[in-house]
């Protein structure tokens, strides 16, 4: 029968060799009790190595479990699906990267060694606008993403990357729009020159930096039949707009041109 590890009034650890070179009860006690003693107990190379192996084994096991989980996606997803995307499978948006895993690893190592100029995509490709537009294409869009790739929008792209759908419609955020919709100032700060018969006027709203009011009247993509109101009083209130951005709840009414794969709420 094994000797109890903590029997007796004296602490066996006090006499046990800590360098891992000892044999017998003292060493067994040292290893089995190590976690209770904090990092000091792992000062020997052998112990540290063992801990390293165990951590590696745990990570390896987790890695294997996660990647053999199937295509459920719940484990790998960065967060909850955005409203309307709950039924999508991972592969609906995440296209496989070019080449075999071996080629991808090879290219990644080559990039790491400076033998390749650009990093390869490993596993899955980043989600591009084209993937979004497979379902959400609009023939008439007031802010089509490709127009923001023009060189003149260089500074604006740094502030808000309007050339990418996922800048606002960030997936796995659980929200329809992952910001507060107050980015119009980036491009429209010169609206002061626009003189339309509305109350308050555009110059007044710009002077007051009322960028929270834009989406109360205007639909960013312009894909709804609704005409913009002429007074802020007739516009939606701020909370309603924020609720729409958050949940995707209908706001602007009938859509001008629902795309074929897009759900009409």
């Amino acid at each position: 029968m094994d000797q109890p590890l903590n029997s007796g009034s004296s602490d066996p650890l006090a006499s046990a060799p800590l360098n891992g070179a000892g044999e017998g009860v003292g060493e067994r006690v040292c290893r089995s009790q190590a976690p209770a003693r904090g990092l000091e107990g792992w000062s020997s190379r052998k112990d540290r190595r063992k801990v390293g192996y165990r951590i590696g084994a745990v990570f390896g096991a987790v890695f294997l479990v996660v990647f053999s989980w199937g295509d459920d996606g719940q484990v790998l997803a960065k967060g909850p699906a955005n409203p309307g995307h709950e039924a999508l499978e991972c592969a609906d948006c995440h296209d496989p990267a070019e080449g075999t895993v071996r080629q991808q690893v090879q290219a990644a190592v080559a990039f790491g060694l400076g033998l390749r100029e650009t990093p390869p995509a490993v596993g899955r490709l980043p989600v591009s606008n084209r993937v979004c537009m497979d379902c959400h294409e609009r023939k008439a869009d007031l802010h089509p993403t490709h127009e923001f790739t023009e060189p003149k929008y260089f500074e604006e792209r740094k502030e808000i990357a309007a050339d990418q759908c996922i800048t606002c419609h960030k997936e796995h955020s659980g929200r329809h729009v992952a910001n507060t919709g107050q980015f119009c100032s980036t491009c429209h700060s010169d609206l002061g020159a626009i003189d339309k018969p509305i109350q308050p006027t555009h110059p007044e709203l710009v002077a007051g930096e009322r960028w929270d009011t834009c989406m109360r009247c205007h639909d960013y993509h312009g894909n709804h039949v609704r005409e913009a109101p002429r007074t802020l009083g007739e516009a939606f209130d701020g909370r309603t707009v924020l609720r729409h951005l958050d949940s995707g709840a209908p706001l602007y009414g009938e859509k001008r041109e629902p795309a074929s794969g897009e759900r009409t709420r």
Binding site: Q103, Q106, R116, T118, P151, K152
Partner: protein
């Protein structure tokens, strides 16, 4: 000792896996493949020449001749209640939109220093390059270093009287003194590579043509829904009737007009690379 040997063995196996028995390396994005390498400036020139012909055909054969047989073209052509086709600048814009639907990094835009729509005004580097185009009439090339994009700008000339009259008469036009054959604006092309292979250039040309076809098909789709739809077939408005060529007929005409020059240019580029 055992662990060291195991580690060494593992690393050796990894090196063999990655390098010695390696599969063909993945092609690198933004780098020309094997074979003939074409500088992007030359590739842009091929694409711009294709665009010039498609644009000329649209402006003269569809808009110009179409108006004479009762077809309408309007800046609000996308509105359901408007029974009209896109004006030349908007046809180009629709072509650019069609291009966005494809898996390509090629983009192009139309702009000016005196546009009808303020959003189409050149700014920054584009404005500087356009000033050079206006002064010399020559295309300009530069690099968007931040995005590693190659950029080309080609002059867009008033090729028909309708271009001049429409821009001079438009209420939002900042100028009313445009003249025929004057440089009215420029097309800006971007692509994230300094060079492409011959095959890649052919693919880009295909993408451009498919985009042009897509734009024309969208017009035909809308024309078919007009209250009095024009007959769509092999005839052209120049034949004196309110008709439109089918997408096949339109693209065949583009093909006939530009393919010979494109192929000759490709031969020149292949020879120059040898």
């Amino acid at each position: 000792m055992f662990l060291r040997a195991l580690t060494l063995l593992g690393l050796s196996a990894l090196c063999i896996y990655l390098f010695v028995t390696a599969p063909p390396p993945l092609p690198e994005e933004g780098k020309a493949g094997a074979g003939t390498t074409i500088p992007m400036e030359q590739a842009f020139a091929v694409l711009a020449a294709e665009n010039d012909e498609a644009r000329r055909l649209w402006t003269q054969e569809i808009v110009g001749a179409g108006k004479k047989v009762g077809l309408s073209f309007d800046e609000d052509w996308e509105r359901e209640e408007v029974e009209a086709g896109p004006l030349p600048a908007l046809f180009l814009k629709e072509t650019a939109r069609q291009m966005q639907r494809m898996s390509t990094d090629l983009t192009f835009f139309l702009g000016s220093d005196a546009p009808i729509k303020e959003a189409n005004r050149f700014e920054g580097q584009q404005a500087l390059e356009f000033a050079e185009i206006r002064a010399t009439g020559e295309p300009q090339f530069f690099e968007d270093t931040e995005h590693q994009d190659q950029v080309a700008m080609f002059p867009d000339v008033a090729s028909a009287a309708a271009c001049v009259s429409c821009h001079n008469d438009h209420v939002d036009s900042p100028r009313d003194d445009w003249t025929l054959h004057e440089v009215m604006g420029a097309t800006t092309w971007t692509y994230p590579a300094k060079a492409v292979s011959l095959e890649e250039l052919l693919q880009l040309t295909e993408i451009y043509r498919a985009s042009t076809r897509g734009a024309y098909e969208r017009y035909l789709e809308m024309a078919a829904s007009f209250e009095d739809p024009p007959v769509i077939g092999d005839q052209w408005p120049r034949d004196g009737e309110r008709v439109l060529p089918s997408a096949d007929a339109f693209m065949e005409a583009v093909d006939r007009a530009v393919s010979s020059a494109t192929v000759l240019k490709l031969f020149d580029l292949a020879r120059a690379d040898r």
